[in-house]
Amino acid sequence: MIAARNIIALKSILHKEIHRFMRIWVQTLVPPAITISLYFVIFGSLIGSRIGEMGGFDYMSFIVPGLIMMSVITNSYSNVASSFFSAKWQRNVEEMLVAPVPNWVIVAGYVGGGMARGMLVGSIVTFVAMFFVDIQIHNIWVIIATVALTSATFALGGLINAIFAGSFDDISIIPTFILTPLTYLGGVFYSISLLPEFWQGVSQINPIVYMVNAFRYGFLGITDVSLVLSFSVLGVFIVSLYTIAMVLITKGIGLRS
């Protein structure tokens, strides 16, 4: 009885979240496709052709997994951050808070919505990439697992950001000053083996390095870091961020007075 109620509640939140980003598809789905197309044209076709090979592949093929992952990260994060903060701002988050919806269902619903957008945008970017390069797949299961876990990680991050946020500025600070630098320095455009030893060490503390490399392994079969380590990092981040999100919502931080 309670399990059935929770499943319906979860489906309702998911339905609402997916409907939200589909309703504003011009803002949510089109920009990543255009941005990534520009990356392909500039870094792939124009500059990439002069760079030559990287990791045994032409530059365009090398950056495709990273670019897909970049769009998954930013979209899963921003979807939950903006949707949950907007629900706080308009106070319609109270619709869920007054209902018998367990906190884990709220977290799962919003994270599921973020994952859905991240993976849909990832699919769109992959489709766009097919116009520029022959996509090869080394291990589909690694691709699916990496994209699912990465989108879940950043959706959780976006949720925590939205819980703490007091204004719309607060949900753009983390993406601008933390997420974007980490992504650009996460091995999207280069192999970290090209870096001096010191910076290779520094890169090891950037979690996005592990996600991009695991994803690249799924496509090309090459990686700068151990696959086991990559999935371990993802696992640790998901468990940690989920725990933090649950504690914050249970305590009502930013939600209850």
């Binding site: 309670i2 059935a4 109620r5 929770n6 319906i8 509640a9 489906k11 309702s12 939140i13 339905h15 609402k16 409907h19 309703r23 907007s86 629900a87 308009q90 106070r91 319609n92 109270e94 619709e95 869920m96 808070l97 007054v98 209902a99 018998p100 919806v101 367990p102 009502g252 209850r256 007075s257």
Partner: protein, 313 residues
């Protein structure tokens, strides 16, 4: 019979030290139409916030149909429908989606939720707007939308926080009628308002809260019996000479209108006697509080026919 709501020793101190509730006790019986009255900042909304888990309490106990909110919060929540004071729906969502999603949060299957949404949107005269974004609605429509939303899971207890604030008289009356029907169906209703007349019209029992303390908790009849003074308005024949009443507090509004405060120990007959002795003729008399409202409803609410009959009377 089990109480719909039991509150004991409820306290709330906000960050910064403001004590909104100073240990209130309250019991609302099943099927009751209960008014929680008080001035702005008295603690009405804080009390409702705690009952519905939007506000964390500092101390005390709250039980909804026997379910303690500390022990069985989800069970307690499932009995409550909340109509908050502020609009708190997604302004960009269509009405139908807002209602169906809300039902989903309570575990109502989508097919059933769609049927209920249709039922309540029609009852509340919002069916034509079902596919419009909520932001397109007028203030009164938004209030009705929040009532429909609160009913989607068919709660046993409906809590309305200032539901008619800023609503015109005609709409307020139709909302009162709708709430009466719900109460007759067995739904316990708790209403906060600072319109005394609204509480008087609808509620059987009443609590008055002031500065976080319940200062009165009784049935409506007992409370009204405590009313010491009522003000009556006398319409006098035009150009009457100035009236003078001994033993009454009165105000001459103009040459044909007189307001008189009649105490419980006095009678209206005494007023008539004195006015007759002074040769002043009374054309009609009304209780001051409902005069404008009655006039407005007779002209606008019931149409031309009732307006004509009012004139003929």
């Amino acid at each position: 019979m089990q109480s719909a709501l039991t509150i004991s020793g409820l306290e709330k101190t906000y960050k910064g030290g403001f004590q909104a509730l100073k240990g209130i006790d309250l019991t609302v019986n099943q099927g009751d139409f209960f008014a929680l009255l008080g001035p702005n900042g008295a603690g009405k909304s804080t009390t409702i916030g705690i009952i519905t888990s939007l506000v964390n309490k500092t101390a005390g106990k709250v039980a909804v149909f026997g379910h303690d909110i500390d022990q069985e919060l989800e069970a307690a929540k499932s009995f409550i429908g909340l109509v908050p004071q502020e609009f708190n729906f997604n302004q960009f969502e269509p009405l139908m989606k807002i209602l169906v999603n809300q039902a989903g949060y309570y575990g109502v299957e989508r097919s059933i939720a769609v049927e209920r949404a249709e039922k309540y949107l029609k009852q509340l005269d919002l069916w034509d707007k079902r596919n419009d974004a909520a932001r397109m609605l007028s203030g009164g429509m938004k209030r009705r939308l929040m009532i429909a939303r609160a009913l989607m899971h068919e709660p046993k207890m409906l809590i309305l926080d200032e539901p008619t604030a800023g609503v015109d008289i005609e709409l307020r009356r139709s909302m009162w009628e709708f709430l009466r029907e719900l109460n007759q169906q067995g739904i316990t209703i708790i209403l906060t308002t600072h319109y005394l007349e609204e509480a008087e019209m609808l509620c059987r029992n009443i609590a008055i809260i002031d500065s976080g303390i319940i200062v009165e908790n009784t049935d409506m009849k007992s409370l009204l019996a405590k009313l010491d003074v009522e003000t009556f308005v006398f319409d006098l024949k035009p150009n009457s000479k100035p009236a003078h009443l001994t033993g009454f507090c009165f105000r001459v509004v103009d040459d044909h209108t007189l307001e008189v405060d009649v105490k419980k120990c006095q009678t209206i007959n005494q007023v008539f006697t004195e006015l007759t002795q002074q040769g002043i003729e009374v054309l009609s008399m009304r209780n001051k509080s409902n005069r404008l409202e009655e006039l407005f409803v007779s002209l606008v609410g019931s149409g031309q026919e009732s307006a004509t009959s009012a004139i003929e009377e």
